[in-house]
């Protein structure tokens, strides 16, 4: 490939958003160059990881036949933790043992590699071990290509799709978007723990390809805004915890891996991991600023997708599906313009925004637009006080100790009143508003 080849589109990054964009465009016959800084697609990427089938199915309907999937989810546990235990909700149904399951656990490095192979098979050219360092522009400032850390003059295209993930250095350093605020990103650390398949299945009461996910919050984050997770893979368990970077740096004394250690040692978790062998430790940022943190999404000759567009629904732990969907919608916008022989100007690419608004992506982002601000202000109450109160209330309720039930009810109400007073009402209103 000579550097003077002109492409219809250049995609920066081979995560789910970049792969979705490159795949969709290559399938439509566009001449696509994808550039990835890792040795292979996925080698730099970290996720829990839950894959939501629908977003992928829209592009590759028969993905289940070949994609490296771990387990399909049949049970969801949501835990509010205090120091000694948890109170929560479990939901399980045999309905999830269906022909086309809805959610799977995956291992990102393997999944991304597979997805990226589909991109190549669809006809795109993929360059690995190459970091995009800058955007190339014409005299009018329009983006016309990218510069990389390889020797040469760079690569040229009608449009550059920025699928570079949360750090988004290319966009930032080219002045297309502001730097991330520490309040808008969470730092997550994660470990992979290996156990025999039978051990996992008996510990989690599952068989065959069934899987369980645990999402947890509470005193495990020491009052900081954050959550933890435990997901079952076929022969391993992914376990991790994440907190807002602003909280971590403000506290300044808490190492993320110490939080993870404490989570792993928690009485509710410890026995689930017993005897496991840890084989990898990873860290990654998650964009959690929500709708208000979405940067400019397109301009003359460029368009941003996935984490680079801040598309994560932190309330529902969804990111990879938004990445794939935004990647696909950006690609469809570009394909339309290409077929009409139109240039990818800022105005023409405005159609991407419209597609987003019409999809679940922007509707969900808007629905929770006030949650990040609420957490910024109420974080420690929600992350620390309420989990304690709930666990205290549960104990008061379930212990049989000679106290009558009315007295127990009073004790529970009194404990909450004592801890929060009228704030209780205010919290309820704020939560309801942010959720609306």
């Amino acid at each position: 490939m000579s550097n003077t080849t002109r492409f219809d589109a250049i995609v920066v990054g081979a995560g789910p958003s970049g792969n979705a964009a490159a795949y969709t465009m290559a399938r439509a016959g566009l001449n696509v160059l994808q550039i990835e800084r890792g040795e292979y697609a996925g080698s730099k990427n970290v996720q829990g990881a839950i894959l939501y089938a629908d977003a992928l199915e829209q592009m590759i309907p028969d993905f289940r036949e070949e994609a490296p999937l771990e387990r399909h989810i049949v049970e969801q546990r949501i835990w509010m933790m205090d120091d000694k235990g948890h109170t929560g909700m479990h939901h399980r149904s045999d309905d999830y043992n269906e022909e086309r399951p809805n959610r799977y656990t995956i291992i990102r490095a393997q999944f991304d590699k597979w997805f990226n192979r589909q991109v190549r098979d669809a006809g795109a050219t993929v360059l690995y071990e190459t970091t995009v360092t800058d955007l190339l522009r014409d005299a009018q400032g329009r983006v016309i290509g990218v510069q990389t850390d390889r020797e040469g003059d760079g690569y040229y295209a009608d449009v550059v799709v920025l699928a570079e993930g949360v750090n988004a250095l290319v966009g930032q350093r080219s002045g297309l978007r502001p730097e991330l605020r520490a309040e808008d990103v969470a730092l997550a650390v994660k470990e992979m723990h290996f156990l025999p398949q039978e051990t996992i299945e008996s510990r989690f009461n599952i068989t065959g390809g069934e899987g369980v996910v645990i999402e947890a919050m509470g005193t495990i984050t020491e009052g900081m805004v954050g959550t933890a997770f435990l997901y079952t893979n076929r022969e391993s368990i992914s376990i991790g915890i994440g907190c807002l970077v602003s909280d971590l740096s403000r506290v300044g004394k808490c190492s993320p891996y110490q939080l993870l250690d404490r989570f792993k040692a928690h009485p509710s978790i410890r026995s689930l991991l017993e005897g496991s062998e840890m084989k990898e430790y990873a860290a990654h940022l998650i964009p959690e600023g929500g709708y208000r943190a979405i940067p400019e999404l397109a301009g003359d000759g460029w368009i941003a997708v996935g984490d680079a567009g801040h598309f994560v629904n932190a309330v529902h732990r969804e990111g990879s599906n938004l990445a794939m969907t935004t990647g696909r919608l950006a690609a469809e916008t570009i394909i339309d313009l290409h077929r009409q022989g139109q240039r990818c100007t800022r105005q023409a690419l405005g159609a991407y925004r419209k597609r987003l608004e019409n999809s679940f992506v922007m509707k969900d982002m808007k629905k929770y637009k006030d949650v990040p601000r609420m957490l910024e202000k109420q974080g420690s109450t929600i992350m620390d006080l309420y989990p304690r109160l709930m666990n205290g209330a549960a104990q008061t309720w379930f212990r049989v100790d000679g106290r009558d039930k009315k007295a127990k009810e009073n004790a529970i109400v009194k404990a909450a009143w004592h801890a929060r007073g009228l704030g209780l009402l205010g919290d309820a209103v704020k939560l309801a508003r942010a959720w609306r």
Partner: protein, 94 residues
């Protein structure tokens, strides 16, 4: 279950670009609070304080998360870029 950071990073694969660290701390007398917080916040424990109270980095175990870049963006004490293509951390699972 608790583990040292060294044992953790030992599990990971890296291709270190010898002599080309991708993160540098600019020389300083007294580090800002933001930079000091990185001694704890960096998930790979790359930052440490020397006997003069200055913050130093050895980026070999860096997982390229970008946290230090975000935390220290306003103080200008850190120069941060990705390692050259093909170098740095290499996740087997991710």
């Amino acid at each position: 279950m608790s583990d040292t950071i060294e044992n953790r990073l030992f599990q990971n694969r890296y291709i270190v670009d010898t002599g080309q660290p991708h993160i540098r701390v600019t020389p300083h007398e007294t580090p800002s609070e933001a930079l000091q917080s990185m001694v704890h916040v960096c998930p790979a424990g790359c930052y440490s304080k020397n006997e003069h109270g200055q913050v130093e980095i050895v980026a070999d175990g860096c997982m390229e998360c970008g946290t230090c870049r975000v935390v220290c963006q306003d103080t200008g004490e850190i120069e941060w870029s990705y390692p050259r293509g093909g170098f740095g951390v290499l996740f087997k699972f991710g």
